[in-house]
């Protein structure tokens, strides 16, 4: 057996180290390390509660809006305020824009460049993949980055700027949108649809979302232009559906609430396909393998105090568990729990894996583009965007939202008008969790086991595909 270390593991958000025990050319055991700790939870303690709106989003530059709305959601309960409906819609538009921008960044900048590597030079498809996706040089980024920047112009109108905005308040959003601005929002949504339909899918969003079975997807792909079909052909050539199997349980906190409830429902999907209500009171965090002092397992009662010399620890990330189990989160979980037909069928066929995670992100992007169009239309421009009443109260409050990469929770305790405790469990805390006190490995650690590395060792591209298929956000992970 040999032990290899992969790091700095780049083209993820933040830094990452993976240690692998290799037996007969395959991964026998994996350990995942979040190598950065900044101490946001310690920084928040003792501050006025509303300061969380400044501090918390700065955990993460790529899912800053998600962090903002998780904080705003917890504070909303503390203040007993009902947000203005326009504020809810404007938040949804901005949040969906961030979510979709993150999916584009992942696909074009983080994930696809691995197919352009020299290690694949002998494959007949390599020339086209390299022309399109080579990191910083491929033709795709020349289209994807401007499309992303254009989509993020939604932030200029609703949020002032991105990342790190104070527009997302407990009572709604801080800028009332006028008619001209709604027209501009529509134009941006139109540009985004145009990019998706021309470059990503080479088909209408409606046609893409009508696909509901693996065989329909295969037929649709054949002979089709566009980067999604390109990916599907690469995924088949490399059997990516057999790579990086998830642990089985998929979780979503639910997202994009409007007058009709959550656009993406909350819940838990078991590996047999049954979907149940989310037992959010059974969320715990274990610090047995984290460089953290012992504390309560209940995020509503725990604190974070680093202990860099702790024996048996190997990550700054704690180990979140739901009813004692590791769970996978992300677009695939969100779409599965929501019952999206194609993702449901793909999961029934071959479960959570590298291929299906990427498909779920792009299907979700198509859904988000349609939702954004609908929310812009639903704004009632003569009505308020922000409810400004509400007084801060002491107590324990929870904000549960979905970031691009999955379920994000903020547990806030207010006492004497100040933050007593603040605990954050981020999406990649779930996916890239270290082992717990029972020795149960986290989702990525389980997914890597069995991956073939052959003679390439630490340079095996298969490892890159598995890790990046989760779209890790390491700056959120340990925060």
């Amino acid at each position: 057996m040999t032990r290899i270390t992969v790091g700095p593991f780049n083209r993820v958000e933040g830094d990452l180290e993976v240690r692998l025990d290799i037996e007969s050319g395959r991964v026998a055991r994996a350990e995942v390390t979040a190598p950065l700790y900044r101490g946001f939870e310690q920084i928040l303690e003792g501050r006025p509660p509303l300061d969380a709106l400044v501090i918390a989003p700065r955990i993460c530059g790529i899912c800053s809006v998600s962090q903002s709305i998780a904080a705003a959601s917890a504070l909303r309960q503390a203040m007993g305020v009902v947000p203005a409906q326009n504020g809810v819609l404007a938040t949804n538009i901005a949040h969906a824009a961030e979510n979709a921008a993150d999916h584009l960044t992942h696909f074009y900048i983080f994930f696809m460049p691995d197919f352009a590597r020299e290690a694949y030079a002998a494959h007949p498809w390599h020339g086209a993949a390299a022309e399109r996706f080579t990191a910083t040089k491929g033709s795709a980024a020349r289209e994807a980055l401007p499309a992303r920047a254009r989509l993020l112009e939604i932030m200029g109108l609703i949020a002032g700027k991105w990342p790190h905005s104070l527009a997302f308040q407990p009572g709604g959003t801080t800028r009332a949108i006028e008619l001209g601005e709604r027209i501009r929002l529509n134009a941006i949504a139109g540009s985004f649809r145009g990019f998706l339909e021309r470059v990503v899918f080479a088909d209408t969003l409606e046609n893409v979302l009508a696909l509901s079975t693996p065989s329909e997807l295969d037929r649709w792909r054949d002979g089709r232009a566009g980067d999604f079909a390109h990916f599907l052909r690469l995924a088949d050539a490399l059997a990516l559906a057999d790579l990086g199997k998830g642990p089985g349980l998929l979780m979503s906190f639910g997202a994009y609430h409007d007058a009709d409830g959550a656009n993406f429902r909350a819940g838990l999907r078991a590996s047999d396909g049954t979907i149940s209500a989310l037992p959010s009171d059974l969320i715990t965090e274990d610090v047995s393998h984290a460089w953290m002092r012992e504390t309560s397992r209940d995020p509503a009662a725990s604190r974070s105090v680093p202990d860099a010399d702790k024996a048996d620890a190997y990550s700054w990330c704690k180990a979140p568990r739901l009813a004692g189990e590791p769970v996978e989160v992300g677009a695939i979980a969100r779409q599965a729990v929501d019952g999206q037909p194609l993702i449901t069928a793909l999961l029934a066929s071959d479960g959570s894996n590298v291929r299906n995670r990427v498909i779920a992100r792009l299907i979700e992007t198509a859904r988000l583009a349609l939702s954004i169009e609908g929310w812009i239309k639903a704004l009632r421009l003569s009505e308020p965007f922000c409810e400004t009443s509400g007084e801060m109260t002491d107590g324990r409050f929870v904000g549960l939202v979905e970031a691009a990469r999955g379920s994000l929770g903020h547990w806030l305790a207010v006492g004497g008008g100040r933050i007593e405790r603040y605990q954050i469990i981020a999406p990649t805390s779930w996916n890239f969790s270290p082992r717990d006190s029972d020795g149960v490995a986290g989702p990525l650690e389980q997914s890597l086991v069995g991956t073939e590395v052959g003679d390439a060792g630490a340079r095996a591209v298969s490892i890159q595909h598995v890790v990046r298929s989760f779209d890790p956000c390491m700056v959120c992970t340990a925060h």
């Binding site: 992969v6 530059g61 200029g156 949020a159 700027k161």
Partner: protein, 338 residues
Amino acid sequence: MVGAEGMTRMLWLQGASCGGCTMSILESGASGWFDELRQSGIDLVWHPSVSEETGEEAAELLEAIRDGRERLDLLVLEGSVARGPNLSGRFNMLAGTNRSIYHWLLDLAPLADYVVAVGSCAAYGGIPAAGINPTDAVGLQFEGSDVGGALGAGFRSKRGLPVINVAGCAPHPGWIMESLLALTTGDLTADGLDAVGRPAFIANHLAHHGCSRNEFYEFKASAEAMSERGCLMEHLGCRATQAVGDCNQRSWNGGGSCTKGGYACIACTSPGFESAQNYLQTAKLAGIPVGLPTDMPKAWFVALAALSKSATPRRVRVNATADHVVVPPSRSGDKRSS
């Protein structure tokens, strides 16, 4: 286009960072940032978020630079330098290298022609340095507004400059690119930096300049609650009259800015902005905001404010506390003179 040999070699590293400065710079360039860099003669040697090289390939590249086998023109850091615990740097290891970012920076910074701190974290410590500063986070050459930081007050890069601080949380993509390009053309010199290392072409302006709420400011017609249209200085915490940056002379994300977005400037370009509290409330003493414009006698400001308040047109007064325009400008300007 310059050949690869003549190009400026730039290495971008992330310390105790949120990655937001990278998210900002990825908005730059009409055909994307990568094209813009090439067209500007910058060869991005390695960037953790975008480069192909990973794991040992990336580590070997950094070692080659450290050992002098590869040239380094621009060293960019995004994120604070987490020195703790006990100056070990272990709160922020560069994965796979068994060495902290702090120690990598001590190795690499003296080898670069120029060292650029992108964002207020790399410049001054920023958000990770707030509160109890759990990781002993500092900027490259400042700890808050005190010179020193990770590299020390005496540090000068190979071309003789201190660290260039492109402050902001996150900075405008234009601030980052223009600073980098002004270095490559030799137009940004030590004289072009302010007292805390910020490029003067940015820091010679105040965030207040060009604010779309200017008429409300002139008449001290103030918003009282979030989302109202009035000036945010008197009640809602706005620091734009004291914070440097041409924020309101640029468009953020196609047309925004903090004050256009409806919320206060929190002075994110200033050292120590992370240590404030109650960001969205104006601190007052005897009813007068504590933070007034710094280069104006306070008594004059108070006298002028009282005068302008008494002269406030009804339109401005009413609209200041509304979230939509309630009273439009009078139509007299439309009338033809006969």
